[in-house]
C-alpha cells in the first residue's frame, strides 16, 4: 500500500474540532410546541428557506439569496414567471416528446401490446405524424412476424445471442472499457445492431448501456421493447431535470406537492397515456393559482376520471343500450371529499358520498384507450335532484351538477383547514401548530382559495421562521436524491438512474398506487431498508458510480471542514464530525474527498432539512 499514490486529506484537527458545541446546539430539531414561538437564529434563515422552498441548496445559492435579499427572493419564487429559467433545462426537456402530446396521440405513438395487436387487425388508428406512423408500422410488422411463428410462445424467443452481435474484444470493451471507449463502441453500431444488443442484454445491464448513448437513442431502445415505457421514462426524466435545474424551484416543489395531493397511478391501465397531459395541463398551471381551478382541472381530467373510475359511473336507471349494467361508482366522490378537499373528518356522510357520485354521473372519457378526451355524456347522468352537504342541487342541472359540487367543496371551511394543514405539514413541520393552520385557512376563505396568498401567509408566519420548524423535516427519498445532486453540483446527462435510485429508496415516481399519494411524515421514511439505500446512494453519487451523473470533486480541497461546509452548508453535528475524524485518524485506508462527501451525504445531518 505504501508505494501507491494515495490522496490523503490533510488534517486540520484544531479547526475541525472548533465550534463543536455551538453546532450541536443549533442543529437539533426542537421538540416542544413552545419552540414555534421562539425565533430561529438569524443566520439560519437563508438556509432554512432554501431547504424548504427548493429541492436543496446548490453551491453558491446561500450567497445568491443573501445578495438578492431573503424577502425579495421569496417574493420572486412566489412569482415564477418573473424568474428567467435556466437555459440548460429547455435542452434537457426537448427530447422528451410524450410530454408535449395530446392523450390520443400519446396512445398512438406509444402503443401497448393490446393496441399493437389491434393495429395488426386494423382495429386501431395509427399516429398522425408520418415519421411516428412509419415507426409504429414497423412495430406492427414485427408483431405479426412473431405471432406467425409460434402461437404457444409467451415471450418472444428470437433473441440473438450477444456473441453474434459483438466481437470478443467489443464485449470486453462493453464490460471493462472506459466511458469514452463504451461511447465510441456504441456509437459505431448501427441502430439495428444496437437494438439487437439491447434486447439480448438482461434488464439490469440495459441501463448500463443507456448511459453511453444519446437521449434520443435511449428512448428509441426503450420504445422498441415496450413503447409505453418511454412515457414513464419521459415523465421521470422531466421531473428530475426540473427539480435539479429549474430556477423556479418553489414552482417545482409545489408541482410535486399538488401532483401528490391529486395522485394518479401510472400503471393503472390507460393512465399510462393520460398522465403527461394530466401533469402538464391539470396540475402545473394552477399550483399558485385558485384552488377551484386546480380542483376543476383534476376533476375533468381523463387521468383522474380513469384512475378513480368516475368514467364508468352511471345513474342506476340509465344504463345505455348494449352495455352491461354498471351503476353508480362512488370511488371518485369519496376520495374527492376525503383526500382532495374536506379531509376525512371534514363533516361529510356516506349519504353525501352517494349524492356527490350521482352529481358526477356522465363525467366520462370519450374512449380511454384510443382517444382519451373528457366528455360529458348526458345519457349516463342522474337527472334527479341531490342534496350535498345540506345544499340542494335541483333536478336537471346536467353537467353543471358536478361544477356545483366543486364550488361547494372548494369554498368549504373544512377544505380551507385541511389543505392549509397539508401545506404546513409539507413546509413547516410534521405536526404544525393549529394557530398557523387557522391563519392560513382564514386567508383561504378571505381570498377565495388563492393558493399564492395562502403560501404567503405561511411564509410570513412566525411559525415558519421558528425553532420548531428549523430542521424539523426528514427529506423524502426524492428530496434526498435531488438535494444530494444539487449539493454536489452534479451534472445530470441521464436522469433515469436517479429516478431508479428514488424508487430504491422507497418512492417510485408516478407509481404510488393509493390515491392518498406519498406521505411527507418522517415516520414513513425512516426505516432500515431505506436508510441503507440512502447510505449506498450517497457513496455511489460521491464516487461517480451512478451512470450518466458526473460529479466534479476538484472543487474540494483536502480540508474536511470545507467539504462538510460545501455539502451541508452548515456546521456538522458532533457525532458526524467525530465519526469522520475517526475515519481520518485510522490510517489503514485512503480517505479521499469523495469518501468524506459520501459519508456526509449519508449522514443523519443530510437526511433532514
Amino acid at each position: 500500500m505504501h508505494g501507491q499514490m494515495r490522496f490523503i486529506i490533510s488534517m486540520r484537527s484544531s479547526r475541525f474540532a472548533a465550534g463543536f458545541l455551538a453546532a450541536a446546539m443549533a442543529i437539533q430539531p426542537a421538540m416542544a410546541a413552545a419552540s414555534f414561538q421562539q425565533k430561529m437564529p438569524k443566520d439560519r434563515e437563508v438556509l432554512h428557506a432554501l431547504d424548504r422552498l427548493t429541492f436543496g441548496p446548490r453551491p453558491g445559492d446561500v450567497e445568491r439569496v443573501e445578495q438578492i435579499g431573503l424577502k425579495k427572493w421569496i417574493e420572486q419564487q412566489l412569482h415564477p414567471e418573473r424568474i428567467s429559467e435556466n437555459p440548460i433545462l429547455a435542452g434537457k426537456l426537448a427530447p422528451l416528446e410524450s410530454l408535449t402530446l395530446s392523450e390520443a396521440e400519446t396512445v398512438r405513438r406509444y402503443p401497448p401490446q393490446q393496441v399493437i395487436a389491434a393495429l395488426a387487425d386494423g382495429r386501431a388508428p395509427l399516429p398522425a405524424d408520418p415519421k411516428a406512423r412509419a415507426a409504429v408500422e414497423r412495430l406492427v410488422a414485427k408483431y405479426k412476424a412473431r405471432k406467425g411463428m409460434d402461437p404457444g410462445a409467451g415471450e418472444p424467443e428470437s433473441k440473438t445471442p450477444i456473441t453474434d452481435i459483438l466481437t470478443r474484444p467489443q464485449i470486453m470493451t462493453l464490460r471493462r472499457g472506459t466511458p469514452d471507449e463504451k461511447r465510441q463502441l456504441l456509437g459505431s453500431l448501427g441502430p439495428g445492431k444496437l437494438d439487437d444488443l439491447f434486447t439480448a442484454l438482461p434488464r439490469p445491464q440495459r441501463q448500463g448501456i443507456m448511459a453511453f448513448v444519446p437521449t434520443d437513442t435511449r428512448r428509441k431502445l426503450l420504445w422498441l421493447n415496450a413503447p409505453p415505457a418511454v412515457i414513464n421514462y419521459d415523465l421521470s426524466e422531466a421531473k428530475v431535470y426540473r427539480a435539479v435545474y429549474s430556477e423556479r424551484q418553489l414552482q417545482e416543489v409545489l408541482a410535486d406537492f399538488w401532483f401528490n395531493h391529486f395522485n394518479v397511478f401510472f400503471d393503472k391501465g390507460a393512465d399510462r397515456f393520460l398522465l403527461p397531459a394530466y401533469e402538464r395541463d391539470a396540475i402545473r398551471p394552477h399550483v399558485l393559482g385558485k384552488f377551484r381551478d386546480l380542483l376543476g382541472a383534476t376533476a375533468k381530467s381523463p387521468a383522474m376520471l380513469f384512475y378513480l373510475d368516475n368514467w364508468q359511473s352511471v345513474a342506476p336507471d340509465r344504463v345505455p343500450r348494449g352495455r352491461r349494467a354498471r351503476g353508480l361508482n362512488e370511488n371518485y366522490a369519496r376520495e374527492l371529499m376525503e383526500l382532495h378537499t374536506l379531509g376525512v373528518d371534514g363533516g361529510y356522510t356516506q349519504k353525501d358520498v352517494t349524492e356527490v357520485a350521482r352529481c358526477f354521473t356522465g363525467w366520462t372519457i370519450k374512449a380511454p384507450r384510443t382517444d382519451g378526451g373528457y366528455q360529458y355524456n348526458d345519457r349516463l347522468h342522474d337527472r334527479g335532484s341531490k342534496v350535498v352537504l345540506g345544499v340542494t342541487i335541483p333536478a336537471g342541472g346536467g353537467e353543471d351538477d358536478g361544477e356545483r359540487v366543486l364550488d361547494i367543496l372548494a369554498h368549504h371551511p373544512s377544505t380551507a383547514r385541511f389543505i392549509s394543514r397539508q401545506l404546513a405539514i409539507r413546509f413547516v413541520s410534521d405536526d404544525p401548530p393549529a394557530a398557523l393552520v387557522d391563519r392560513m385557512a382564514k386567508t383561504w376563505m378571505k381570498k377565495d382559495g388563492d393558493l399564492r396568498a395562502v403560501m404567503k401567509t405561511m411564509l410570513e408566519s412566525k411559525e415558519f421562521w421558528s425553532e420548531g420548524s428549523l430542521r424539523a423535516k426528514v427529506k423524502t427519498p426524492f428530496e434526498m436524491v435531488i438535494s444530494a445532486v444539487r449539493a454536489m453540483n452534479a451534472d445530470v446527462d441521464f436522469a433515469f438512474p436517479l429516478a431508479n435510485q428514488t424508487a430504491q429508496l422507497g418512492q417510485p415516481l408516478y407509481r404510488k398506487i393509493e390515491p392518498s399519494g406519498y406521505s411527507s411524515l418522517s415516520v414513513d421514511w425512516v426505516n432500515s431498508a431505506a436508510l441503507v439505500s440512502r447510505m449506498n446512494f450517497a457513496m455511489a453519487l460521491a464516487q461517480n458510480r451512478i451512470p450518466g451523473i458526473a460529479v466534479d470533486m476538484s472543487r474540494f480541497t483536502g480540508d474536511p471542514e470545507q467539504v462538510a461546509k460545501s455539502i451541508l452548508f452548515a456546521d456538522i453535528s458532533p457525532a458526524t464530525r467525530a465519526a469522520i475524524q475517526k475515519a481520518l485518524d485510522t490510517n489503514d485506508q485512503p480517505v479521499t474527498p469523495a469518501l468524506v462527501a459520501g459519508l456526509l451525504l449519508g449522514s443523519p445531518d443530510f437526511q433532514r432539512k
Binding site: 450541536a24 442543529i27 437539533q28 430539531p29 395487436a117 402461437p151 404457444g152 410462445a153 409467451g154 397511478f265 400503471d267 393503472k268 391501465g269 373510475d309 370511488n331 369519496r334 376520495e335 376525503e338 376525512v344 426528514v474 424508487a503 430504491q504 422507497g506 417510485p508 398506487i513 393509493e514 390515491p515 392518498s516 418522517s522 425512516v526 426505516n527 432500515s528 431498508a529 436508510l531 441503507v532 447510505m535 449506498n536 457513496m539 455511489a540 453535528s573 458532533p574 457525532a575 458526524t576 467525530a578 465519526a579 469522520i580 475517526k582 475515519a583 485506508q589 469518501l595 459520501g598 459519508l599 449519508g602 449522514s603 443523519p604 437526511q607 433532514r608
Partner: protein
Amino acid sequence: MHTRRFFFKSSAAAMFGFGAMPGWLSRAASRTVRGRKVLVAIFQRGAVDGLNMVVPFGDPNYYALRPAIAIPKPDGTGESAIDLDEFFGLHPSLAALKPVYDSKVLAIVEAAGSPDPTRSHFDAQDYMESGTPGRKATADGWLNRALPQVAGRPSPVRAVSLGTALPRALRGHNDALAMSNLNQFQVREASASGTFESMYEGALDQTMKGAGRETFEALKMVQTIQRQPYAPANQARYPNGRFGQALQQIARLIKADVGLEVAFTDVGGWDTHVNEVGARPSQGQLANLLGNFGQSLAAFQQDLGDRMADVLVVTMSEFGRTARENGNRGTDHGHANVMLVMGGDVRGGKVYGDWPGLGPEQLYEERDLAVTTDFRDVLGELVAGGLGNRDLAAVFPGYTPRFRNLL
C-alpha cells in the same frame, strides 16, 4: 441440522455479547418452545387462472366452457391433469407439487377469493393486500397488522419482503424490511459502514439514532447469514428466476433463526388473455409459469425439511379468470380462484372449500366461478393458529373469519 442451528445462535449471540443479547434474539432462540410459525405469503399478481391451475375435471361444464384450452382428464400422460381426489387434478406443469400433496403437507382451497366484485387488477390487489375488500381508505396491510404485539424490541428482521419495494400487504406501523436480495442488504463499502454506524449511534437526533440502531442491528444479523455459504438441504433445487430465488432467501432466513415472523414475495405474469395454453396442455404461457411456480414451492419445502413444521406458506391471486375461454386461447378477468396452503402442521392432502359448480346458473354474474370461501377465512386461520395473533378483529376489521380447519 442441529449443529448448524446451534452455530447460528451462538454466532449471533457472540456478535452482541451474551449479556447484551437483545430480547428478540433470545425469543428467536426459544422459538420452538413458543410453537409459533413463520407465515410466508405469496401473491400471484395478474390473476392466475385457478381453473387450469387446479383442474375441476369432474365437473363436465369445465370441458363445455373451454373446448380449446381445458386440461384433459387424468390419463397418466404429461398432457393431462394429475389426479388428486377423483374430482380435482393439478395442471401437469405442477407435477412437482404432487408428492408434497401426497405427503399431506399441501392443502388446496377451492373457490376462494374476495367478495368485492371488482375486476380491476389494481383495485383487487389493493383490497386483498389491505385485507379490507371495498375499503380504499385502509392505510396499512393485513400482514403488517397480523404481526403479534411483543414486549420489548422485536427482531429487526421479523417482517421481510423479498422484492425492491415494500408491498402494500406489509406496510404499516410495525417495522418491515424490503430487500431484493439478502446479499444486497449491506452498506457496500465496509469501511464506510463503521463510520456511518458511529454517526447514527451518536446522533442527538432521536429519530435518526433509533433508525440507525435498528438498521445496523439488522445489517449485522443479515451479515452473519451472508457469511455462511448457503446450500439448499436435501438436494433441493430451486429453479432459475426471481421467484425461486426469493423463496430460497426466505428459507435461508428461516433456517438462520434470526426472528423472522412473516415473509412476503410475489410472482407476476399470470394475466393470460392470449395464448394461455399452447398447442399442447404442457405448453404456453400458463404452463411455463406454473412449472417454475410449482418447482420453486417444492424446492422450498424440500430445502426446509423438518423445519416445515415451523412454517406456513399461503398463496393468493387478486381474482380468478372467466370460466369460459375467450377467442384468443386465453381467459379474461373473473372472480373466485384457488389458494394453496403448505406447512408441516397443515392438514394437507385434501382439497378444501365448497365447489359452487360451473353450470350456467351456478356462475357468478353468469360468467365466473363464485366465491364460497372468503380469502380472509384462510388468512385468518393462519394468523390465529400460526402467528398466534388471535385479535383477528384488528387484522381484518369488519370481518369475522370462519376457519376451515386447515390446521
